[in-house]
Amino acid sequence: MRFPILQLLSKHTFQHLLKNSGTKWLIVLFNALLFFALLAAYSSSLEHTHTLDHYSHEVREKWENNPDKHPHRMAHYGYVAFRQKYPLSFFDYGMDSYLGNAVFLEAHRQNTINFSEASLSNGLLRFGEISAALILQLLVPLLLFFWGFALIAGEREQGTLRLLLAQGTSWSELILGKTLGLFYLSLTLLLPSVLLALGLLLFHPLFAQTSDVILSFGLLAAGYLIYLFIMSLLAVWVSAICKTSKTALIQLIGCWLFFTLMLPKLAQVTGQVFYPSPSKIEFDTAVEHELIQQGDSHNPDDPHYTALKDSLLAAHQVSSTKDLPFNFSGYVMREGERLSTETFRRHKLHLMERYQQQQNLLRWTAVVNPYIAIKNLSMAMSGTDFLAYRNFQDQTEEYRYDLAQTMNELQIKHISNNASSSADKKAVISQQYWKDFADFQHQFLSFKAMAKQEALSIFSLLFWLAGLLFLANFSTKNLKAF
C-alpha cells in the first residue's frame, strides 16, 4: 500500500465527485438541514430547560411556604419532579419524546412519570423526528451510497478501470483511495455540524454543571466519524464487487433498507413475541396482591402490625401505644412505607430487566448492523437512552422514599401520641423542617457509566471497520477489471 497513491486517488475522487453541480447543491442542502435540525432542537431544549426551571422553582417555593403542620400532611402534599434534558440531547432525540417528563411524588404510592412529548402529539411523531443524529445516521449514508455506487463499477463500465489497474494501482489502493475520497466528501457534512454542535454545547446553560459532557461529545463525534467511514467503505466495496453500477446501486439501497428498516423492526417483533412485558394493570395488580399479603397498616387486626405493636409494648414495658416514648402511628407508617417500597421496587426491577432483555435483542444486532451500533451509541452519549431514563426514574423514587420517611421520622420524633388528629395544635411542627429538606436535583449519569453501557456498540463499529478493511485488503482476488 503506497500512501502517495492513496492520497492521489482520494483527492481525485473527491474532486471528481465535487465537480458535479448536483453534489454541491446536495452538500449545501444537507448542511442547511443539519443546521436547521441542530438549531431547532437546541432552541426547544433551551425552552424546555427554561420551562422546567420555572416550574421546579415554583414547586420548591410552594413546598417551603407550606405553613406549620403535621408532617404526614406534607408527605401527602409531596413533590413534583421534572426530568431535565441532558445538554447534548439536542443532537439526538433518542427515546426522549417517548419518556415522561413530570412525576408527582407522594407517600404510599409510586406514580407514573407523565407527559411525554408522544402523549401530547398526534401521529406525526411516528414518522421520526428531524435531528442531526437522524440525518447523519439515516440520510447521509444514503447520500454516500448515491455518490459512491458508481465509483468503481462506473469505471468498469467505461473501461477506465483496466487502465488504472494496468498502471500498477492495486485493488486495495483503489478501494481505500476511493473510500477516502468519498469519506472526505462526507466530512463536508459532518464537520460543520459537529463544530456548530460543539459551539452550542459550550453555551448550554447546563454545560457548567455537567462538564464531562465534553467527553460524551468526543465519543459521539468519533462514533460518527467511524460510522461514515464504514458507510463510505461499504459503498466503494459494493461498487467494486458488482458488475454494473446499476446492480451496485440496487444492492446498496437494499443494504440501507435492511439496516435501517427491516432489521430493527425484525428485532423488535422478535422481542415482542419472545419477551412479553406486563401491562400497567397486570403490574399494579401483582404489586397490590403482594402488599395485601404483607399486611395492612390501617387494619387494627392485621397480624403483621399486631405483632409489631406487641413487641414494641413489651420492649418499652408499657400497656398502651399512647405511652410509648415516640409517635406510634409514625412508626407504623415508616414500617408500611418500607415494606411497600421494597415490594414495588422488586417488581419494578423485574419489569426493567424485561425491557432490558427486549432491548438487548436489538442491541446485539449491532454486530451485523452498524446503523444500530451508531444509533445506540449516539442515543447514550446524548443522554436520551433508556439508561439515562432509568437513572432519572430511580432518582425520583429515591427522593420520594426519602421524603416520605423523613416526614415519618419527624412524626415519630416530634408528634405526641395524644394528638387527636393531624389538625390538632399539638400535632404541628415548624415549617423550618420543610426548608431543611433539600430540593430535588436531577443528576445526570457520568460519562463513564454511559460509555460502559455502550461497549458493545463501540466494539461493533470497530468490528465493522476492521472487517471491511480486511475485505478490502485481502479478498480482492476475485475482483474483475471488466
Binding site: S97, F115, A118, S119, S121, N122, E282, T285, I292
Partner: protein, 450 residues
C-alpha cells in the same frame, strides 16, 4: 403481446421475490395487529376483573362510611378498541385504553401512563399501516423505475419502436401488470386481515381499503410520471427514492418539529402543580371558603354543612378534592385546546403529503388518532363527573354502604362514533394521482411526436 409481457414479468426473479417478501411482511404485520388486539382485550378483561375483585375486597373490609369506601374504590372506563385498529395501531400504544378512577380529583389520575418499552415506542409498530406507507411505495419504485429505461439500456427499445403496437401502449401494459400484481397483494392482505382480525365489513373498513388502494395508486402515478421523463435507470431510482425519503421521513419530521415549536404545552405541567396545590393546601386553610367554593360550583349541594367544631368531615374532604380539579380546570382546558390545535394544523398540512395524510386517515378510521384520545379524555371527565354526582349526596347524607347496589358498577365502555369523512380522506390522494398521470401523459405524448 400482453401475454408475453405477463410471462416476462412472472419470470423475473427479483420482482417475484419482492412481491413474496412484501406479502410475507404484510402477514407479519397482521400478526402484530393480532397480538396488539389480544393485549388490549386482555387488559380490558383484567381491569374488569380487578375492579370487581377490589370492590368485593373493600366491601368485605367494612370501611363503615360511604365517604371512606369511595376514597378507595375505583371505577373503570374502557375506550373501545375496534378490531380494525389492529391494522393501524397509531397512538393506541401510547395512551392507555382503560382507566380506573376513584371519585377523588381526576387530574391526578387521568394522565397516568401505560407501561411500555420506550424503545419499542420509538421504533414504532410493524403494523399494516407501516407496511402500506413505507414498504408498498418501495415495491412500486422497484417495479417501475426501469420500466422504460431497461428497454433503452438493454437495447430492446429500438426493437419496440419498430413494432406495430405503439411503444407507449406496451409500457402502459407493463405498468398495468405491475399495478394489478401489487394491488392484488394489497387486497389479499386486507382480506386475510379482515378474517384474521375479525374486522366487521363496515364503512370504516371499506374506506380503509379505498385509502390504501389510492395510496398505492398515487405511487404508481408518481412512478409513471418519473418514467415519462425518460431518464436513465439510476437517475429514476434516485429521484423516486428521494421522493420516498422526503415524503416518509424528512417532511413529516420537519413538520413535527414545526408543530411542537409552534405550540409548546407548558400547561401540562401547570395542571399537575395546580391540582396538587388546589387540593392539598386546603387542609391547612379555613374550611368555610373551601366549602363555599364547592357550593358555588354545585348549588344543588347548598343545604349541606360541615359539622361545627369537628376537625374532619367527608363533606369538607370531598370539597377539598373537588378543588384539585377546579383549580386546574383552566390549564386543563388550555392544554386540550393546544392538543386540538396541534392536531388541526398537522392534518391541514397533511393534505399535501400523501404519506402523512394516509397515516392520519388510517388512524382516524382505526380510531387510534389524537381525536380519539381527546374524545376519550372528555368521556372520562364526563364519566368521573357522573360518578361523583351520583355519590356526593350519598356521602354527604351518610347513606349506609349496604343500601347501595354495588354489583351495578362494572367496567363501562365508550365508543368513538364520529362521522366518516369520505371526501377529505380520499380527495387529496385521488387529485394527486390524477395530476401526475396527466403530467405524465403530456410528457409521453411529446416524446412520441418527437
Amino acid at each position: 403481446m400482453t401475454q408475453l409481457l405477463i410471462q416476462n414479468f412472472l419470470r423475473s426473479k427479483g420482482l417475484m421475490i419482492g412481491l413474496v417478501l412484501l406479502f410475507f411482511t404484510g402477514l407479519v404485520s397482521l400478526h402484530i395487529g393480532k397480538i396488539f388486539l389480544e393485549q388490549q382485550a386482555d387488559i380490558v378483561s383484567k381491569t374488569a376483573h380487578h375492579q370487581e375483585e377490589s370492590h368485593q375486597q373493600h366491601l368485605e373490609y367494612e370501611h363503615g362510611e360511604m365517604g371512606l369506601l369511595l376514597y378507595y374504590i375505583r371505577f373503570g372506563l374502557a375506550n373501545k378498541t375496534p378490531n380494525i385498529s389492529g391494522l393501524s395501531i397509531g397512538h393506541r400504544d401510547i395512551h392507555p385504553s382503560v382507566r380506573l378512577v376513584n371519585i377523588r380529583n381526576l387530574e391526578e389520575q387521568k394522565h397516568a401512563t401505560e407501561l411500555r418499552n420506550p424503545l419499542y415506542q420509538l421504533l414504532g409498530n410493524l403494523d399494516f399501516s407501516f407496511v402500506l406507507i413505507y414498504l408498498f411505495p418501495l415495491i412500486v419504485i422497484a417495479f417501475c423505475f426501469n420500466l422504460l429505461s431497461e428497454e433503452k439500456e438493454g437495447g430492446t427499445w429500438t426493437l419496440l419502436l419498430s413494432q406495430s403496437t405503439p411503444p407507449v401502449k406496451i409500457l402502459r401494459t407493463k405498468l398495468w401488470i405491475r399495478l394489478v400484481s401489487v394491488l392484488s397483494v394489497l387486497i389479499t392482505l386486507l382480506v386475510i386481515g379482515k378474517i384474521y382480525l375479525s374486522i366487521p365489513l363496515n364503512a370504516a373498513f371499506l374506506a380503509f381499503t379505498l385509502v390504501a388502494v389510492f395510496y398505492v395508486l398515487f405511487w404508481f402515478a408518481l412512478a409513471w410520471f418519473v418514467v415519462s421523463l425518460q431518464k436513465s435507470s439510476s437517475q429514476n431510482a434516485l429521484s423516486l427514492l428521494l421522493v420516498w425519503v422526503m415524503l416518509t421521513i424528512i417532511l413529516p419530521a420537519s413538520i413535527n418539529a414545526l408543530v411542537i415549536n409552534l405550540y409548546p404545552i407548558p400547561e401540562a405541567y401547570s395542571t399537575v402543580i395546580e391540582s396538587r396545590d388546589g387540593y392539598h393546601t386546603k387542609w391547612d386553610l379555613p374550611k368555610k371558603p373551601t366549602i363555599q367554593k364547592f357550593k358555588d360550583h354545585y348549588p344543588q349541594f347548598a343545604q349541606y354543612e360541615h359539622p361545627e367544631g369537628q376537625s374532619f368531615g367527608w363533606f369538607w374532604y370531598y370539597a377539598m378534592q373537588q378543588m384539585g380539579d377546579d383549580e386546574a380546570a383552566e390549564s386543563n382546558e388550555a392544554m386540550k385546546e393546544k392538543l386540538r390545535k396541534r392536531d388541526q394544523i398537522s392534518r391541514t398540512i397533511a393534505y399535501f403529503l400523501p404519506s402523512v395524510h394516509t397515516q392520519f386517515s388510517l388512524n382516524a378510521l382505526s380510531q387510534s388518532d389524537m381525536r380519539n384520545y381527546l374524545n376519550f379524555l372528555n368521556e372520562l371527565e364526563a364519566f368521573h363527573e357522573e360518578k361523583r354526582l351520583y355519590f356526593y349526596p350519598k356521602i354527604f347524607e351518610g347513606v349506609p354502604i349496604e343500601e347501595e347496589n354495588w354489583a351495578q358498577f362494572r367496567l363501562e365502555y365508550v365508543e368513538d362514533d364520529r362521522k366518516l369523512e369520505w371526501f377529505g380522506k380520499l380527495l387529496p390522494l385521488v387529485l394527486g394521482s390524477l395530476l401526475l398521470v396527466r403530467l405524465a401523459r403530456r410528457k409521453m405524448v411529446v416524446s412520441e411526436t418527437k
